[in-house]
């Protein structure tokens, strides 16, 4: 009986009645969890958007660990964990709880950085009207400086790909996570990252996405204060009827923590961009310095942007701020460009690339930055 109840609780999709999912209604779209995805017949070849930037690569196809070269590296280790626990409450993190329960092959794949290195993490989907779940752990050992280049590569339609990534950045270590998400237009993608950073550690992330039928990329950071730093950037570039939801929750638990956040968005046609950012400063987490910015452009009549930048502050000696702007491209700048003989479409692309460029420029890994810049330019049609 207990088992039956548990199963039903973690297969219920969140709906717009859930406050945290008000703009990303999975239940309304899918109603029930689609049947499990089949195994992809062939072994994947190395690749993905970050191809060539790292030797170590973990590829997960339709929720199953599929490819795992570079396992002999000393700096990056891969292994599996067969019986992990599931600490996530379905009421609070429904999709993370679901992934923790439903990911089976293996229950968790773990990437461990023992020395400074770069690793690729690819989550590949080739599915139609089916669903799969994956759970990945990333550990950056004390003092190590690591880069994780993560990609979501979706093909097919009306699938649900659900990923849970648990990241631990140990004392004085640093991790840069760069994500490029390219789901199929009719696909549904959910990725939840739970990040724990230790005192003095650094975590920086940049998420670039072109959306899906419904897509949510959520990051929750447990920030200890203690001179640790978190940077959470993102950009969504959406056309057609695509949807993307960038949600972040940063909880500052101790004194002297720094968080900076910059998200930019562009929506056109009938696309819908969602940004939910929450910064929580717990009692006693004094001298927290947290900044959040979300700026977005709506380039068509029927596109939509919803934003909820929240500050929940329980300590008095803090400096927290957020800014949020939503509007059209600057008419004056367009006029200026057109006056100088640049066709309108090109001028629009130029201005949009420059607008999103600020996010890309903050990527520290040079190779990833170049790939990200090219990806943005391609999405915005300026190349």
């Amino acid at each position: 009986m207990t088992l039956a109840l548990k199963t039903s609780a973690s297969t219920t999709l969140p709906s717009r009645r859930d406050e945290d999912w008000r703009w990303t209604d999975l239940y309304g779209l899918l109603r029930t969890l689609p049947a499990p995805s089949p195994r992809i017949a062939e072994t994947l070849q190395p690749g993905g958007p970050f191809k060539g930037l790292a030797k170590a690569e973990l590829a997960i196809a339709n929720g199953r660990h599929n490819w795992w070269p570079g396992a002999d590296s000393k700096t990056v280790e891969f292994f599996e964990h067969q019986s992990p626990d599931n600490p996530y409450a379905p009421e609070e993190l429904p999709m993370a709880a679901m992934a923790a329960e439903q990911a089976l092959e293996p229950p968790v794949s773990i990437i461990q950085f023992n020395g400074d290195d770069v690793a690729l993490l690819r989550l590949v989907t080739e599915a139609t009207e089916t669903s799969h779940h994956a759970r990945v752990g990333v550990v950056v050992k004390t003092g190590v400086s690591a880069t994780l280049l993560e990609s979501y590569e979706g093909k097919g339609g009306r699938y649900l790909s659900n990923t849970l990534i648990e990241i631990i950045v140990e004392d004085g270590a640093s991790l840069e996570r760069v994500v490029i998400a390219e789901d199929a237009e009719e696909g549904v993608g959910v990725s939840t990252a739970i990040v724990r950073i230790a005192p003095g550690a650094k975590f920086a992330q940049t998420v670039l996405t072109s959306g899906a039928r419904r897509q949510r990329i959520e990051t929750r950071v447990n920030h200890p204060g203690a001179q640790a730093e978190a940077r959470l950037d993102g950009a969504y570039l959406l056309d057609a009827q695509r949807h993307a939801d960038l949600t972040t929750v940063v909880t500052h638990a101790g004194v002297e923590g720094v968080t900076s956040q910059l998200t930019k968005g562009m929506v056109t046609d009938q696309a819908r961009g969602v940004f939910q950012g929450r910064i929580v400063v717990s009692p006693g987490a004094d001298q927290t310095d947290a900044r959040m910015g979300h700026h977005a452009l709506i380039l068509s009549e029927k596109a939509e942007i919803d934003a909820k930048p929240e500050l929940l502050i329980f300590a008095d000696d803090v400096s927290c701020a957020h800014g949020n702007t939503i509007g059209a491209l600057d008419e004056d700048a367009l006029f200026y460009a057109e006056q100088r003989g640049i066709p309108q479409a090109e001028a629009k692309a130029m201005l949009t690339v420059a607008f999103v460029g600020e996010v890309v420029d903050r990527i520290e890994h040079e190779g990833a930055r170049e790939i990200a810049a090219a990806w943005v330019a391609r999405k915005l049609g300026s190349v």
């Binding site: 934003a307 008095d316 701020a321 800014g323 949020n324 939503i326």
Partner: protein, 489 residues
């Protein structure tokens, strides 16, 4: 500097909640609890027509089906809706025809509160001084409305809601519930069923109301709730400025205040609505008692180019749940919201606004300042949305929070929904504490710590105070300082 001195003196003079006295007045109550019979009792007591009773009963039936909202960042023990009086009124034989017939005890209350109910007393002031017409609501009923004759000469109707239902049923039927429908939310629905009185204002086309109108709400009776309903209609090209003040005695029990305010604006009309809310906030040490303030306020800018401005200074109540909103329907209409929310002791405030842009070229501006001290929590919660048809919509939002002390909390929860490509929304928010440098600077120049805090806080809320009518701005400035008394040091 004079203002600071005054503030400090006021703080010194007033140890605690100034308006916390109770008055022994002969009152009559409806039986405790809520049922269809109570709704009928209230309606009968007010001698209402059948349509009004039907409207109330419909609301009551809907209320039974609704659930109390729990999304706000406030916590309080479950309210027992059967353990409160829904009707309490000072005993009178007939409705008083003039001030002379009003219970002198009651007049004394208002004198003590500093509310001018005697027209001549107001007139006796400095020549040319601005005058205020007052509607005084005591528990469930309106006791007196001043300056009615003079206002009538200008065509302005200013009376209690009960009187409006009797005298102007066509206007009431047309507009009541048209901005906040009966089943809009749990508390509005409760109000629709049991509202006892409130103010009614109608300003005819092209008329600029010759004086400020105001309503003063006083909860006096024990275990009673106050459920007033205010309806203001500004016809084409009309202008009115309206003020609202509230106080209650100090009691250990929580009392419920669930009001509804509806504003209707036709073409080119303008309403300026200011509130100074100073309900009893509960005991600052234990958090016992205080008013639960669950209020629904909404303005409907139906006409083109109409303009509404909400200004609120919220210093009282144990719990505030209040989101004065603007529905910007008319083309080129605009809405403004200026707010100061001060919480101290164990107060909890979840307040903000909604700007719903439906028409083209609509504009809105939000300036919200929250100050939390003691063990209090203050939340700004706001929604700005633009409909696909609201081309050229423009919003600017600024919310700043100031924290004083280690145990308080300040939250900012804005929702922004942009549904067309030709609107511009800007939002910025900051949370900080009083700057040590600034405090030090002031103290170096000879100000005491209390004076320095008052000065800096008044600077912090200046943008909002400037929007209040002058006399109220001075009052509000004092109130802010008093509310923060004892929060530093």
């Amino acid at each position: 500097m004079a203002a600071v001195k005054e503030t400090v003196e006021t703080v010194a003079a007033l140890e605690k909640y100034e308006h916390g006295f109770t008055t022994e007045i002969d009152q009559e109550f409806a039986p405790k609890g809520l049922s269809e019979d109570i709704v009928r009792f209230i309606s009968a007591k007010k001698d209402e027509p059948q349509w009004m009773l039907d409207w109330r009963l419909e609301a009551y039936r809907r209320w039974l089906e609704l659930e109390e909202p729990d999304w706000a960042k406030v916590s309080y023990p479950k309210i027992d809706y059967q353990d409160t009086y829904y009707y309490a009124a000072p005993k009178t034989k007939e409705g008083p025809k003039s001030l002379d017939e009003v219970d002198p005890e009651l007049l004394a209350v208002y004198e003590k509160l500093g509310i001018p109910l005697k027209e001549q007393a107001v007139l006796a002031g400095v020549e040319g001084a601005p005058r205020y017409a007052v509607d005084a609501v005591f528990d469930s009923v309106s006791v007196v409305t001043t300056f009615k004759k003079e206002l009538a000469q200008a065509g302005v109707i200013f009376c209690s809601m009960s009187e409006a239902i009797r005298e102007h049923p066509e206007l009431v039927r047309q507009y009541l519930g048209s901005v906040v429908p009966t089943s809009d939310n749990y508390f509005a629905c409760l109000n629709s069923a049991v509202f006892s009185d409130g103010s009614f204002v109608y300003v005819p086309p092209g008329v600029r109301c010759p004086m400020e109108l105001s309503t003063y709400f006083r909860i006096n009776a024990k275990d009673s709730g106050q459920f007033e309903r205010t309806l203001i209609i500004a016809d084409k090209g009309a202008y009115v400025s309206y003020l609202e003040g509230c106080t209650a005695p100090m009691r250990d029990e929580n009392q419920l205040h669930a009001a509804v305010v509806e504003l209707v604006l036709l073409d080119d009309a303008e309403i300026k609505y200011s509130t100074v809310q100073n309900w009893y906030p509960g005991d600052p040490e234990t958090g016992k008692g205080g008013i639960y303030n669950f209020v629904t306020k909404r303005a409907d800018c139906r006409g083109d180019r109409s303009k509404v401005s909400w200004t609120q200074v919220e210093t009282g109540s144990a719990i505030t749940w209040k989101y004065p909103s603007c529905v910007l329907r008319g083309e080129g209409s605009s809405g403004e919201f200026y707010s100061i929310a001060v919480t101290n002791g164990h107060q909890q405030a979840d307040t903000g606004t909604k700007m719903i842009h439906l028409g083209a070229n609509t504009k809105s501006r939000i300036v919200a300042k929250g100050i939390s001290a003691g063990k209090s929590t203050s939340t700004y919660r706001g929604l700005v949305s633009a409909h696909p048809k609201a081309k050229g919509a423009r919003n600017f939002t600024q919310c700043d929070s100031l924290l004083i002390g280690k145990e308080c909390a300040a939250h900012t929860v804005p929702y922004i929904e942009a549904r067309n490509g030709q609107s511009v929304f800007e939002h910025e928010a900051t949370t900080t504490r009083l700057s040590d440098d600034q405090l030090f600077y002031c103290q170096q120049r000879g100000l005491s710590q209390e004076e320095a805090v008052a000065l800096l806080v008044n600077g912090f809320v200046k943008d909002v105070l400037q929007q209040l009518p002058m006399e109220f701005a001075v009052e509000a400035q004092k109130l802010v300082a008093i509310s923060l008394e004892g929060s530093v040091g």
